[in-house]
């Protein structure tokens, strides 16, 4: 839209509040006057997927429901783990196996039910039994396997001590487990309500506003599937003030352009909450207009995207998933991996595929995203630079007759961003290396299905951190037979280092993790491309929206000033 009229009215608005920081975020000035309507409204392209903490796994769902549920611990704005329902850090036995949790005794569900140790034991056992994507949070707890297999309903490691304290015993030391307890799978649900609605493992209660009961500051008040969801603050919330917002209204609008039009006509308070992105062309428009740019907030998000190389050298080698050899595998493929990584001008990639750098930025410090623990530092990855001459000479050595890259297909899961990245990579590789590569889009399901079996020689890979702990990257991506690896990478040295590091507290293991990250870089295991950016668009009078690398701000932080 050439929204001249909008520009003009915004120019007035922006002029009036130009002294305020454009990116909102937290500078709470008590003298500001609040608007009479404190409705936070924003769009989402698709409805929430999972409403039950036991099965939740998508960032969209978690960003929303962390306002309605809570657990013993949570991550603060700096991603530090802090007590929520717990009174403090757990007591950990000297052998590192038993954790004793003490709970606040004033905690209530939104329906008034008090939260007791029983509810936690019920919630955790239930989550292990349901086997949602993140049930493995409880894997270290003794008795998990029996519950996961359906042979038991309660993990033997969980013990109630009294109404407000309980203990968890692990089957082996796992220093990172304390971090995992702050994840959504460990949120508490109301035993009474869940059992009244059906079996413990059923989820129907969670999608009905009447029974979706949690301990968060907000509660769901209405929901029309694939159309809208509404929330309201919990009155007399146990945690104290629920902030200024009196209503949250989410609308499902699949078309990003329609959403933005609606925002521009003043019907949304913001776009970007719940992991939503803007239409690439619109971001470019906002970013290139000095007035509109003031409404745009670009915050780093904990996601890295890289070129995945297949490390299979033959059937069953080096991983049991391997079926055949691949040109990029092992030491023989190292030159090829280096050439392909060096042949990418990441500035051009960011300009074109990341909407002039508004959707992501160059990855120059290893696979762990900048801002997270384990990041190697800017410009530490020697293969993440553009060097056409070197790339060409390496390529010549590796594939002199072009046979290794004949009919090369790069596969990605369907998305606008992945398509843009692949098109640009194909263009650059053909221009810089003379390799004709085809981009193939697969729907998400087929893609992950085939990638898990290491079927693609070269493919899109990406990982969004679950929490700020390097273990999250190695255990699921790079140790031998890692579930989400897709590359069948195997390195016994790395496996051993991961095992050692995982057993120690992060303060003692961070250097090991960094050394592991360095090993990945040195071997060009991943062709690191870009780190993510979360975009938010909101008028200057909406304060406190935004987030950190992993989560949006809580709705309690948001307020709408007079405008």
């Amino acid at each position: 839209m050439t929204r001249i009229a909008v520009f003009r009215s915004l120019a007035v608005a922006v002029g009036a509040v130009s002294m305020l920081a454009a990116c909102g975020g937290g500078n709470n000035n008590t003298s500001e006057n609040l608007a009479s309507d404190q409705t936070l409204s924003f769009p989402m392209v698709d409805d929430v997927g999972n409403l039950d903490p036991g099965t939740m796994s998508a960032a969209v769902d978690i960003d929303i429901f962390r306002n309605t549920y809570s657990g013993l611990y949570k991550f603060d704005d700096q991603l530090n783990e802090v007590p929520d329902i717990a009174t403090g850090a757990p007591q950990i036995s000297t052998d590192g196996l038993t954790y004793t949790f003490k709970m606040k005794n004033n905690v209530k569900f939104s329906n008034g039910d008090p939260v007791k140790a029983d509810d936690f034991l019920f919630s955790w056992n239930r989550a292990a039994a349901i086997q949602g994507d993140y049930a493995s949070v409880f894997q270290p707890v003794a008795g998990y396997d029996a519950v996961a297999n359906g042979k038991a309903t309660e993990m033997t490691g969980l013990k109630k001590i009294d109404d407000y304290s309980f203990s968890a015993t692990l089957s082996a030391p796992a220093a990172y487990w304390f971090t995992e307890v702050a994840l959504w799978t460990a949120w508490v649900v109301d035993k009474k309500v869940v059992l009244a609605a059906g079996k413990a493992t059923e989820s129907n209660w969670a999608s009905d506003p009447a029974t979706a009961i949690g301990t968060g500051s907000f509660k769901m008040t209405a929901r029309t599937p694939k159309q809208s969801i509404d929330f309201a603050p919990v009155s007399n919330w146990w945690g104290g003030s629920t902030g200024a917002i009196t209503k949250v209204h989410i609308e499902i609008i699949a078309d990003q352009k329609s959403s933005l039009t609606k925002y521009e006509s003043g019907n949304f308070t913001l776009i970007g909450f719940a992991n939503q992105s803007l239409d690439p062309d619109d971001v470019v428009r906002y970013n290139s207009d000095p007035q509109l740019k003031k409404q745009l907030q670009l915050l780093p998000s904990a996601r890295t995207t890289w070129i995945g190389f297949n490390f299979c050298e033959g059937a069953g080698k080096p991983s049991k998933n391997c079926t055949k050899g691949n040109p990029f595998a092992g030491d023989a493929g190292k030159l090829g991996r280096e050439a392909f990584s060096l042949a990418v001008d990441r500035d051009q990639l960011v300009d074109i595929a990341c909407s002039k750098g508004t959707a992501c930025f160059k990855a120059t410090g290893g696979v762990i995203t900048k801002g997270l623990k384990g990041y190697l530092g800017d410009n530490t990855d020697p293969w993440a630079v553009f060097d056409k001459a070197k790339a060409q000479s390496l390529f010549k050595q590796w594939d002199p007759d072009g046979s290794k890259t004949k009919n090369l297909v790069y596969t990605y899961n369907t998305s606008g961003f992945n398509k843009a990245v692949c098109d640009n990579l194909a263009s650059q590789w053909q221009a810089n290396l003379g390799v004709k590569m085809q981009c193939t889009a697969q729907d998400r399901a087929s893609f992950f299905n085939a990638r898990t079996k290491c079927s693609y020689p070269i493919f899109r890979h990406s990982w969004g951190a679950d929490y700020d702990h390097p273990q999250d990257w190695f255990d699921f991506l790079f140790v031998t037979d890692a579930g989400s690896g897709g590359a069948c990478y195997s390195n016994s040295q790395l496996d051993q280092m991961a095992k050692d590091a995982n057993a120690k507290p992060l303060s003692q293991s961070l250097d090991t993790y960094k050394a592991m990250n360095k090993i990945l870089v040195d071997n060009t295991v991943t062709g690191n491309l870009v780190y993510g950016i979360q975009q938010y668009v909101s008028p200057a009078y909406v304060k406190g929206v935004g987030g950190n690398a992993l989560y949006d701000n809580y709705w309690t932080d948001v307020k709408i000033l007079q405008h």
């Binding site: 352009k257 062309d281 074109i352 398509k419 098109d423 981009c439």
Partner: protein, 307 residues
Amino acid sequence: MAQAAPVIQPDLELSYEMPEQVTLLSDAWRRLKRNRLALVGAVIIGLLFVTALISIVWTPYPTWLQAVGPTYQPPSAAHPLGLDQAGRDILSRIMGGALITVQVGVGSAIIVSLIGIPLGLLAGFYRGKVDTVISFFINIWYGIPDLLVALILVFVLSDALHLIPRGVLVIVIAFSLTRWMDVARLVRGQALALREREFVEAARMSGARDFALLARHILPNALGPIIVQATFAIPAAVLFEAFLSFLGLGLPSPTPSWGAMAADGYHGMDFAPHIVLAPTIALSLTLMAFNWVGDGLRDAFDPRMRR
């Protein structure tokens, strides 16, 4: 989306008073030449084919090459149609798209005819059970949104069963599998009418086999309407491809499909309308040209339609 192939042409099923082929074709040609709209269409189609042929050997820039200049650059002397959101030369991509369009259109017309003609001949010539079965299929297919079935077919054939890689071929096949009925129905009607005619009867008396009857007497006399029907299959197929690619379910990126280019461009049309205008205009002109020529051919072959 199916509108480009006129859904029903009741007039086509009537018999034609043209026993001799030479007269039929020359007469038709004479009449076609007088139809100005059809001539304009023919010129546009000629341009399309020439562009498609040139694009095989030469385009100003490679169709896949990004960042040949600033992204979203409006038309300039160096890039007459401007650059798209990835900095690709739009003129080159329009040229490449012409080739895709020709492949999809002509390919579909051929395959639709290859499926439809034998089935229609069988049903019309032998009647009885064969006809019942084929006609039943035709009627069932008319009752469903065929393009959506074709869409699912593309998905299943290429992504699920990996029978045919995603490309022009799978689109042509999916389209033909769901759209052969128009031709089959038409040929059936022609065969039904022609088999009773004197010259067919005479040939049968003189001992001609069924195959010879079909190939030498019935098919040639039904040729006119078949050509018309096949011509109308071209814009329908082109539209189907554009429709799929516009929804992001069609040809793989960065194939310069006009539908995909329109989809790429329409989000940015607030500040760079040239990206969406070029492919949509090219597509509309092409469809129009084929429809005009199709109309012209129909009028030429069927004098009754001239008014």
